[in-house]
Symmetry: C3
Subunit: 120 residues, 3 copies
Amino acid sequence: MLNIHRIGPSKYSPTRSRIIVHEGVVTTVATASVKSQSLYEQAQDALTNIDLHLAEVGTDKSNVLMVMIYLSDISQKSEFNRAWDEWVDRENLPLRACIGAGLEEADLVELVVTAATEGN
Amino acid sequence: MLNIHRIGPSKYSPTRSRIIVHEGVVTTVATASVKSQSLYEQAQDALTNIDLHLAEVGTDKSNVLMVMIYLSDISQKSEFNRAWDEWVDRENLPLRACIGAGLEEADLVELVVTAATEGN
Amino acid sequence: MLNIHRIGPSKYSPTRSRIIVHEGVVTTVATASVKSQSLYEQAQDALTNIDLHLAEVGTDKSNVLMVMIYLSDISQKSEFNRAWDEWVDRENLPLRACIGAGLEEADLVELVVTAATEGN
């Protein structure tokens, strides 16, 4: 048996996981739950979903390693940054990269996050 | 000596590897071998290439952790999903994210996959 | 205490790290320092910044695992490849993937790199 912990499925599909834990690293993906919002609101919503996913495996944003940020419109990056600055743990700054990319119709932001598990 | 196992080069270039193994994690990249196909067929082809790459290092899709999916046309995501649903190991669902991105001219899909090695 | 080493902040923002080290893996992000350059020159510049980041944590390009390359214009990939071929350690070829993506206004290239730390 390998030491892979899979939590899911994703609420968006029965054929993918929502969270993967392997060798002390959690990886998870989130978008906003409510798609009719502005980018700023979707960013807050998606970051909250990240918090919820991390809590499911007993860790939190203080342990986030890297956040890969995909925006449907890179020219609105400052709106994402506003939500980021309110969310981020200033004592434990993650690495991040942010690019413009094609997303599902109503999604303005998608996040892929890695974090350390507690006790790692 | 570090514990990095590099397999390659890639068939697309002599200056990059095809597979990297480090600390129990395999990372590999694949596109379709035959570029004249539909997205659905390219997706099947690229996923088969992932299977081949994983087999080269003694692991398989049951150990896949995360699949990052790049499509040249995100509006065709359902065609990719059709190939995904046929390919995926339902007992061991990977995490995934899928975005629209600029790819090499004839590529409709590119995959970056991480998996656990056996015995990890 | 978790074994996470954060170096930063990024010169682009006080709310993100420049380098993260966790469990023997370094992850870092770089763009070109001088944005008025051609893609070939920005690629050289960004790769040099990667070298500097890796040196900060006592490792170097011989230990690079994966390079994720984002170009603002994928049709100019050959210009990036020219800088890559001059930079890469031919005895230790990294895995890489390269996609077209929306970047900050003047950026033509952005790199996300993982590498093993020495003594790992």
